[in-house]
Symmetry: C2
Amino acid sequence: MAQTERFSAVEIIAAKRNGSVLTDPQIDWVIEAYTRGAVADEQMSALLMAIFLNGMELGEISRWTDAMINSGERMNWSVLSRPTVDKHSTGGVGDKITLPLAPLVAACGAAVPQLSGRGLGHTGGTLDKLESIPGWRASLSNQEMLKVLQDCGAVICAAGDGLAPADKKLYALRDVTATVEAIPLIASSIMSKKIAEGTSALVLDIKTGAGAFMKDPQKAKELAEVMIGLGKRAGVKTLALVTAMDVPLGLTAGNALEVRESVEVLAGGGPPDIVELTILFAQEMLELAGIKGIDPATALKNGKAMDVWRQMIKGQGGDPDAKLPVAKETLIVTAESSGFILGMDAMKVGMAVWRLGAGRTRQGEAVQLAAGIEIHAKPGERIKQGAPLFTLHTDTPEAFVRAQESLVDSVVIGDLPASGKLDRLPLVVERITH
Amino acid sequence: MAQTERFSAVEIIAAKRNGSVLTDPQIDWVIEAYTRGAVADEQMSALLMAIFLNGMELGEISRWTDAMINSGERMNWSVLSRPTVDKHSTGGVGDKITLPLAPLVAACGAAVPQLSGRGLGHTGGTLDKLESIPGWRASLSNQEMLKVLQDCGAVICAAGDGLAPADKKLYALRDVTATVEAIPLIASSIMSKKIAEGTSALVLDIKTGAGAFMKDPQKAKELAEVMIGLGKRAGVKTLALVTAMDVPLGLTAGNALEVRESVEVLAGGGPPDIVELTILFAQEMLELAGIKGIDPATALKNGKAMDVWRQMIKGQGGDPDAKLPVAKETLIVTAESSGFILGMDAMKVGMAVWRLGAGRTRQGEAVQLAAGIEIHAKPGERIKQGAPLFTLHTDTPEAFVRAQESLVDSVVIGDLPASGKLDRLPLVVERITH
């Protein structure tokens, strides 16, 4: 303990342990001192557990977020002539909405400076998906990022090391200390990156249901409200849609498979749930960015969004016409009985995708670009016994056994209830603006 | 994360975070894996904070204690012809009871194998006190310990590195992560050392009041009950006295000063509160050891306890006749008004003693052997304005200023209430046997 420190880590941990509200100078110091190593990992993890169990008020979370932003650079897009707007999803199975959405919103006149992440666990990561396009690069310098954004209105790339380094260090620590799923810590982690990214407006997609981190819709709503509060305090126009993640989105989950489906959407086709969510988010983003009178559905149909997509992929070194990787082995899983598909567990499908090699167990691991699952029938559709339900893709066929184990009981087939309605979440559970 | 580990640290942390009861194999593994370094400090500190906030059941604390004992050696005194009994105090200001007590109980026929600690913060440590005796050694090999115990019936020494190493590592971690004051962690830490020490019976002195770690008598009682439960489960006959630490014990606080006072008690004199507590604990220890019909008061008066003391000090290399260290400087603090002394804040006096150099701020620091405070009048006594209240002793006279700051408002002088009784804790607040 150097005598020159303004605060003592032990006193700050004890304050949160006792249920006190941390002061602004305490929060500023503890994040700054942790980033430079004067607060040790074992001290920060004790503080994180105290935050997990005793909570934080919005004012504390806001200051904590600011302190993480201030640990690095804050990007600025004021040189752009277009308004900036971004979208963030808390992650789900088959959630490839960002891929068609960013070029679509750019085609409608906004600028989308999206810093994305990689997958961890059962949910995929946008950067992993895009890396299945030959030549495409996730890492751009700030100058390269600005050039792609100026040239085509959208960029999807990795956050540089200079952006919220405190969050990077904290995220790795939370992962090994069972302090991930706390609303103050999730909200501040996401929002510190999004605010530092320099977007003027932000639409949040808070997933809920079996395949989401926030399985309880009430908790998802609470997270949405905290994140909106943080955005507004930082001067970022923010709103949130709480959306369904009980069932996988679309008909594919896995990196290259999801890119293929995204391109179908950009070509005016694709599964209806993906198209519906993409257009809905585009409308919200355009409204928040102050762009009126443009119908994103038209920009999907007339190929303008596809033009931006191709330009954006080329701008980051990718070849939009190249053949996507194909898995060495496939295996078809068939329906065990005939009837209506009543449910499909997103978590079980996500775990199977992960076991096929599409995801990683720890940060830094490589993923199989071609691994994943194609879904041949979704809840609400009728299927016959023995008809194809899933096609599993992998380069490592020994993975089929464990993937199939994970799919046991993932699909419920039976008679439609008398009401004719499935027992599942609506696609949009709630729209939250404050 | 090695694939060969039986458990995942993250899952164990998450279980306690969610309020679950940890299983025996989980507890065994996490202590064992932490001791060998497979569970990281930042993981253990998150678990400790979850234990602090969510608690542990007695069964969990007992297993946790066993796991810490099993991390090292367990001593065994079955070669001795006498029954073994020990005493542990949670620490207070001027609490030198162990010094006259151990030889007294030995003089009455029991064997006292006491492993003691050093002071940290405002309370003194038995080993620091005894080290003010020229030549005396705290570190003994197990063979040396047995020899002193066989020769004179009592030994007071430091716990070796082989004893509960998990507790040593955890104690250092708790100190920097604000996870010290949790009953499950305090109780398991003390009891793991006392059970590993191999005593058959144990009397606990749980201090309560301003100068104690457990300021609230109800919390002190709760700690006592948990520790008794742990002792009984381990086959150690255990009882506890919750005793007063609102006012310093005796008339001295500081290493050599307390040895001097202890020798006065062994010589048949000394302050009445020290004599009373010493005899009371000796009676409890003898009863628990099954030794009947011996009056410890007599052994104090007739010099038998003093004989054991001299033999014990010599057995550990000390010279019982050597002059004790004397401080280079003294300063007398006088009464600001006349009247009855109504109160004396043990914490404020303890802090002053610490600031004079008698205590340490971190483990491993040296202490001043001669520093401390003599108390010239205690609560209940009448004093005149300007009469000596304290004599401060130090080798570093620049410490006087901060020590005096700490003594401001430490003594309340006024009129006795109509009842004639002071508002203070009884010397023994409660006797707890289960």
